[in-house]
């Protein structure tokens, strides 16, 4: 350690206390359509630092990307409608209000007047129309001669309802109209996509380079090109390190004293590869807000006084994780069955699946591994989503005797050594496929292995690459059992977003994906319920439908739920106007947060 001592003598006394440059405020008048926030008026100033694991891959929302990219873009962009996690409903954003015609298919959006992009150009209905034009643009495929999307993106499918595209038109500069081909109740939730600036991207739209615009390179070299309608605009992007945002001088929200939001001078997203490091940064007061995992809460909490932050217990997390058996019938092109027929017979027997659930000590995992800060999961909709969660489903708690009884009933037998044999006389051996690199999953799996060994089942754990997992569950179907975590951002506010998992034709219907017709009666019933809830505008009806879906899944156990750890969110106590929503990020109203403290 000699070297360390010698090096610390280097002249490094840099001025860490130097304040950031003053942010110019109030140089532009508030627009006519300004939204007045209900929050208490605050004071300008302060730097807000958050962390993220992965860097954005693009700033163009038409390019397929990941969570990190959408979260980075979310600071810059705004949609017609946005989601308020406290009131749990869709609230006006760029659209001041909207009307739904009596036929429940025509939606008229009234845009806020006088809004400007962060470069000072006016925002009008033309931008909205341009955005949808970009999504639906087509060209002729030179090979097949058929029309194909010019800028393929997920939004084409999202806005294709019952096989037909939605229609949209401009009525005047501040009014646009949308028309859904069928009754489709989640439409308002779907319309909140970011709006693209016509004045910046029209040329690229014409010459076909739209998907190459607004890459990370643009963000690094010309941050001012990424014009914004959101609370912030890009100040600087240092790849591998951080993104710095500054307030958008044309933002359309203000407090009741007429001060334009946001109060924060700079917002910094720091990119940290290891989530462990993220936690340390927060725990040592270097970051303003962070999510804390259940197992870290115990020690992070010790620093609350010293570093001036508060931890909020957010209850069960919204994401769920589960195991499942491969129930895909049939065989591959060479005639090899996906799953050995005798094994398939076990897996298809719901008593077998239920027995596994009873044999699995999930309560023990919650207590031992998570220090009691977790609970066994009972439904595909986490209890963090109280509006949709069904608390009265069949629950499976650790009960090896019940498991044995179910297995006996299903015709399984044990030999003298306590090893389990199937009705056909084969030894019950199962292979669980896991992808490498998740310690949580690995702890769950080793526990399952021991629990199953106790009732005579031999479980083999096979670790493979993530790519292999994807390929097997999507393409080759040659596996017996697998596990993933399911955290759908679309499903968080409205479970309709989890359709790909629930519907038997869905691509994420993991145990038997993309079925032409439902394989079982209960899957058919789920399909029915999903269609039913999409076409009704009665919230209570929709909730009822989802309750029934959860009950069916709990009874049939195609998905063997694991545990749901409790989430904790920490934020520095100095930030005012904080409103903790029932679920989701604490920073949903980042533009309203302010601090009385001077910048450090």
């Amino acid at each position: 350690m000699l070297g360390g001592a010698a090096l610390s003598l280097l002249p490094v006394g840099c001025s860490k206390t130097q304040p950031p440059p003053e942010v110019e405020r109030g140089q532009y008048p508030l627009p006519e359509g300004v939204e007045t926030a209900v929050c208490e008026p605050g004071r300008y100033g302060g730097v807000f630092i958050v962390t993220d694991n992965t860097e954005p891959k693009t700033f163009n929302f038409l390019v397929p990307s990941d969570q990190a990219s959408s979260s980075a873009m979310g600071r810059l962009q705004a949609g017609l409608v946005s989601w308020d996690p406290v009131q749990a409903k869709d609230i006006p954003a760029l659209a001041e209000s909207w009307d739904i015609a009596p036929d429940k298919k025509t939606y008229t959006f009234h845009l806020r007047r006088g809004l400007k992009w962060s470069d000072g150009e006016p925002f009008t209905a033309d931008d909205v129309i341009f955005t949808y034009d970009c999504i639906f643009a087509e060209e002729k495929d030179p090979v097949t001669g058929q029309m194909r999307p010019r800028y393929p993106s997920r939004y084409i499918a999202q806005y294709t309802i019952g096989g037909e595209r939605i229609q949209y038109r401009k009525i005047d500069d501040y009014t646009v109209e949308f028309h859904t081909p069928k009754l489709y109740s989640p439409f308002i939730g779907d319309i909140g996509i970011p709006i693209l600036p016509k004045h910046k991207l029209y040329d690229a739209y014409l010459d076909g380079t739209l998907l190459e615009q607004w890459s990370t390179k643009t963000a690094i070299e010309h941050p001012e090109e990424l014009v914004s309608l959101g609370p912030f605009k890009l100040f600087a992007y240092r790849p591998g390190e951080r993104i710095v945002y500054e307030p958008n001088p044309h933002y359309w929200r203000a407090d009741r004293d007429g001060q334009r939001l946001p109060y924060i001078d700079f917002l910094v997203t720091k990119y940290v590869k290891e989530s462990d490091t993220e936690t340390v940064l927060f725990a040592t007061g270097q970051v303003d807000a962070s999510a804390i995992s259940a197992t870290d809460e115990a020690w992070v909490k010790k620093g609350q006084e010293a570093h001036g932050f508060t931890l909020y217990d957010r209850g069960p997390s919204t994401s769920v994780s589960f195991l499942w058996f491969n129930l895909k019938p049939g065989a591959n092109a060479d005639g090899v069955p996906y799953v050995k027929p005798y094994k398939m017979a076990w897996f298809q027997d719901k008593r077998f699946r239920q027995a596994i659930m009873y044999a699995y000590n999930r309560t023990g995992i919650a207590r031992g591994v998570y220090f009691g800060r977790a609970a066994p999961l009972d439904s595909i909709i986490s209890p963090a989503n109280p509006k949709w969660h069904n608390p009265d489903v069949r629950k499976y708690r650790y009960d090896p005797e019940k498991a044995r009884a179910l297995l006996r009933e299903a015709g399984f037998t044990w030999n003298d050594a306590g090893e389990l044999f199937g009705p056909g006389g084969q030894r019950v051996e199962i292979e669980l496929m896991l992808f490498e690199g998740s310690q949580k999953m690995s702890e769950m799996a080793t526990t399952l292995k021991e629990n199953l060994a106790a009732i005579g089942i031999a479980l083999r754990i096979n670790y493979v690459d993530f790519g292999v997992v994807i390929q097997k569950i999507d393409n080759t179907y040659d596996y017996e059992m697998c596990a993933i975590g399911w955290g759908s951002s679309a499903g968080a506010s409205d479970p309709s977003g989890s359709k790909a998992l629930l519907a038997s034709s869905g691509i994420y219907h993991v145990w038997n994906p993309e079925q032409p017709t439902p394989a079982t009666d209960w899957e058919a019933r789920i399909d029915e319920l999903i269609t039913a809830q999409e076409t009704t505008f009665d919230e209570a009806e929709r909730v009822k439908a989802f309750h029934e879906i959860q009950a069916i899944l709990a009874e049939e156990v195609p998905l063997l739920y694991l545990v749901t750890p409790y989430g904790y969110s920490g934020i520095k106590t100095k930030w005012q106007n904080l409103v903790v929503p029932p679920s989701g990020t604490l920073l949903w109203n980042l533009d309203e947060l302010w601090t009385a403290e001077e910048t450090e």
Partner: protein, 933 residues
């Protein structure tokens, strides 16, 4: 001099081609490609995926995946300023049209057949149809290949008026054979000659070919040169009626802009991406290097001057410690240190405020953030360099010219610094060249832990996400740097020591009969390459049989080699062992190692519970303290704070222990069935005392505490040692055997064999080992269990790692073969084989022993590093590396679960013991430290 440099530069070219082709091949082994992930996501439409597949050349026009050598050809084409590939629209020959119609009819027939059976999976059926269609088309192609050359040429001329090369081999098999057999001669021209034969067809139906002309306009920007250039060259076909056409890749040399391609994951050109990360990596590596030099050289000199005094001992201790701590573990400790004290930034490149700082302060901020990562990276280097420096300095202090200088009355300072130092620093100059090679490769582990935005992590992630273009660019860069570094090292050495001549051949001439081993080497290589191409990558059962075969034959071969060497060199070994036991340090190290291996061999007997026995009631349990309660016993603990896993001993309660009690059944050494254990909790006695049955889970015995699922760490350490301690033995077994066969013989024979062997060694050293491992792992993982993966990993590690050993052994055998006794034996007319067995090998054996002992720690640390990256042993098996990786979460440090760090201590002790023993052995075998150079 200049010719030497030019020759060296020229010799880089085949290595570069070979390595890049190898990387392409490796990446093709991993299942799926970079779009696999994209395909599974519902938010990415199929059209987009199809477009990307076309743009990146992953599929040919029919949607079949292209072979790796085709992709390689396209990549080379993009990279070289002289483009040799072009595209061309060619009308189909009547035979082809007929074949297509037939295929289409078949497809329709198959589709209707599929419809007829309602149960059939439509998707599957469609796939089947596609494959049959493709197969029939291929058949048509090959059938037509010989007869239609003339026809096609004519057709081409008619269409474009341009002559294209007539050879149209549609069978890719021939191309594979050529490309893989001759990676060295694959200069752009020859490679192009092979690739141009690959025909891609577009499924143009009845559509007018002119629409195809305008089509790629939008694609052109992404595919760059590949698509845009030939468009101008091929005018539209004259026929007004729709003519079915296909796109043919032709030989069409023209100039273009070289490009490294586009990163898929980041959506920007690779060159830009690398340029973003390069400065940080370069500065970090450079700082670490300078830091290591600045500290190591004076420390080594001081240690030599103050030999056997306190400073020498302390610095020796420091060197051992620095060499024995896993790099990532040190990094974690440093982050913890920084977080606790606040003296240093915990992570990152610059502080947040640096955007607003004046330039000078910004520079200071940058340097401040460099300290910890540079320290961690540099420490290992310091230890190694210091030892070399000290040894050399000592060596030269006793040399004649020093005595002369002293006699002439020169001051001690002048002697030491002007004469000794200049000579002693030579070997370090060589190492400087190698260090230069590492400047741009980045350091994955340190970057990961310390969140430093460097190249290492970028490339590692690119590999796991199969972002091929990024990986290739990085590998290429690494290779070039390595070879330039070698060149610089040679030049530096020549400059500092005029006695060394650059163009020197083998000093003692060339042995006769060296064509024999050269031929054998070539034959073995060829056999290996053929064997590799026959590996059944997709077939689990075949892979299982193969690995079993490899395992047992390998084990048998290794045992045979070991027995052979011991038989030959028995007296030497006995002699060495005697001397070793006479030295206290060596004796201590030998005892420690003996104990460790004893523990591994008797692990199940010594363990208190099975490796995977868990107890969810007692997670993160501290070690149960030993006590005396009418007999040996352990204390009982209560979980006083379950939210933080805090346990406190219950006064007055204890669990009695019993020696040689019965526990779980096991097989000692794999075949002796037993159920007795050294120590077992005596629950029967406890139940008697408490009166009534108890829940045994409430009274655990954890001699070293428990982990996150309540497994006994003491038992896991023992079972883990079976893996961690044998990894090194198997590894050196392989590397020493191959290293001796190639290096030792190359040194002895010299000449052509030597040349061949050394080029092979250089090639292998240029192969990026980490990527090799990653690729093979992901290709193999689905077929093997964790325990088998362990064997596979070791084999891979050592198959790549023998090159360095071979180099060292070559040097030794070079020096041995010019000794008197060898010359005497030769002049007496003894046969080569006899000389090798009777004279060379026994004398080399002692060096082998030293080299082996000193290289085992590398395997142990390597296993730990791999496990840290999630690439090592997997649950529920145990290894020290895996256990250390699981304990590297910061909650372990912050909540004081110190017992979870015992695997780290075990690694540390083992590695130190091996290093100390190796050094002692070297002192015995080779007092003048020859084996180090």
């Amino acid at each position: 001099m200049i010719t030497f440099i030019v020759r060296r530069l020229l010799s880089m070219i085949p290595v570069l081609f070979g390595v890049s082709a190898l990387v392409f091949y490796l990446m093709s082994l991993a299942p799926g490609d970079f779009l696999t992930e994209a395909r599974s996501r519902p938010d990415i439409s199929n059209e987009l995926i199809a477009e990307m597949e076309r743009a990146y050349g992953l599929v040919d026009a029919e949607g079949k995946p292209t072979a790796w050598y085709v992709q390689y050809g396209f990549w080379l084409n993009n990279l070289s300023p002289l483009k040799f590939l072009g595209h061309k629209e060619v009308p189909l020959t009547p035979e082809e049209i007929a074949a297509r119609q037939k295929a289409a009819e078949e497809a329709i027939a198959a589709a209707s057949a599929a419809k007829a059976t309602p149960e059939a999976e439509t998707e599957e059926a469609a796939e089947e149809v596609a494959t049959t269609a493709a197969a029939s088309e291929e058949k048509a192609d090959t059938a037509e290949a010989d007869t239609s050359t003339a026809v096609t040429t004519k057709a081409t001329e008619a269409a474009g008026g341009e002559k294209s090369s007539p050879s149209q081999e549609a069978a890719p098999a021939t191309v594979t054979a050529e490309a893989s057999a001759a990676p060295e001669k694959a200069s752009p021209e020859t490679a192009s000659a092979e690739v141009k034969a690959v025909v891609t067809e577009s499924v143009t139906g009845t559509e007018d070919a002119t629409t195809a002309e305008s089509a790629p306009a939008s694609d052109a920007s992404t595919t760059e040169e590949v698509a845009s250039a030939p468009e101008a060259a091929s005018p539209s076909p004259p026929a007004p009626e729709p003519v079915p056409t296909k796109t043919v890749t032709i030989f069409d040399p023209h100039w273009g802009k070289p490009t490294l391609g586009q990163s898929w994951a980041y959506n920007i050109p690779v060159a830009d991406l690398i340029a973003q990360r390069l400065p940080a990596t370069f500065i970090l590596s450079l700082t670490a290097l300078i830091f290591a030099w600045v500290v190591a050289v004076p420390m080594g000199v001081l240690a030599a001057i103050k030999r056997n005094r306190l400073f020498d001992r302390l610095s020796g201790l420091f060197a051992y410690a620095a060499l024995s701590i896993p790099e990532f573990f040190l990094a974690i400790l440093m982050v913890f240190f920084a977080a606790r004290t606040g003296l240093f930034p915990t992570d990152g490149l610059t502080s947040l405020a640096s955007d607003f700082l004046p330039p000078l302060a910004r520079l200071g901020d940058y340097a401040y953030h460099l300290i910890l990562p540079a320290f961690v990276l540099g420490v290992g280097g310091i230890a190694g360099m210091m030892r070399v420096m000290r040894a050399n300095f000592l060596d030269y202090m006793q040399s004649d010219f020093v005595t002369t200088a002293r006699a002439k009355g020169l001051s001690e300072r002048v002697i030491m610094f002007r004469h000794v130092l200049r000579n002693a620093i030579n070997p370090l100059l060589t190492s400087l060249g190698f260090a230069l090679a590492g400047l741009l490769s980045g350091a994955v582990l340190v970057e990961k832990v310390m969140n430093y935005p460097g190249l290492g992590l970028l490339v590692f992630e690119a590999f796991t996400r199969q972002d091929h273009a990024v990986v290739l660019a990085a590998v290429l860069m690494g290779c070039v740097m390595l070879m330039l570094g070698n060149l610089v090292a040679d030049l530096l050495l020549a400059w500092s020591d005029p006695r060394i001549r650059l163009e020197s051949g083998s000093p003692a001439g060339v042995r006769k009969g060296q064509w024999k081993p050269a031929a054998v080497l070539l034959a073995v290589l060829a056999a290996l390459l053929t064997a590799v191409s026959f590996i059944p990558w997709g077939d689990t059962a075949a892979m299982q049989t193969m690995i079993q075969g490899v395992k047992w034959t390998g084990l048998a071969a290794l045992l045979a080699a070991a027995v052979f060497i011991i038989k030959i060199a028995w007296p030497t070994f006995v002699n060495i062992a005697r001397q070793l036991l006479r030295r206290p340090v060596g004796l201590a190290a030998a005892c420690v190692l003996g104990l460790l291996y004893f523990g591994a061999a008797f692990a199940p007997f010594l363990a208190t519970s099975q490796v995977s026995d868990l107890n969810l009631l007692q997670t993160y349990h501290p070690p149960t303290a030993l006590t005396w309660d009418g007999g040996p016993a352990v204390k009982v603990y209560n979980n006083v704070d379950p939210t933080a896993a805090k346990y406190e001993a219950v006064p007055g309660e204890s669990v009695p222990l019993k020696f040689f009690g019965r526990g779980f059944a096991y097989k000692l050494f794999g075949f002796i069935p037993m159920d007795r254990h050294l120590v077992q909790p005596d629950y029967a006695a406890l139940e008697q005392r408490l009166g009534g049955s108890i829940d045994r889970a409430e009274y655990p015995v954890y001699l070293l505490g428990s982990d996150s699922t309540g497994r006994d760490l003491y038992s896991r350490l023992l079972f883990g040692s079976q893996i961690s301690l044998t990894i090194g033995l198997i590894g050196i077994g392989i590397t020493m055997t191959i290293g001796f066969l190639v290096g030792g013989l190359a040194g002895y024979f010299g000449g052509r064999f030597d040349f061949l062997a050394m080029r092979l060694v250089e090639f292998l050293m240029a192969v990026p080992g980490l990527y090799l491992l990653l690729a093979l792992r992901s290709a193999l993982a689905p077929h093997f269990e964790s325990g088998q993966m362990f064997v596979v990993i070791v084999i891979i590690l050592s198959l790549v790692g023998w090159a360095g050993t071979a180099r060292v052994l070559r040097g030794m055998s070079l020096s041995i073969r010019s000794r008197q006794y060898i010359l005497a034996a030769e002049s007496m007319g003894q046969g080569t084989g006899r000389i090798l067995l009777k004279h060379l090998l026994p004398n080399l054996a002692s060096y082998l022993l030293v080299a082996a002992t000193l290289s085992i720690p590398g395997y142990i640390l390597g296993e730990a590093a791999l496990s840290f990256l999630g690439l090592g042993i997997q649950e529920p098996s145990a290894s020290w590396g895996l256990m250390l990786q699981q304990s590297q979460q910061l909650k372990v440090l912050f909540l004081d679960f110190w017992w979870l760090l015992t695997p780290g201590a075990a690694i540390f002790v083992t590695v130190i013991a091996f290093n100390v023993m190796g050094d002692t052995l070297r002192d015995i075998v080779d007092p003048r430290m020859k084996s180090q150079q």
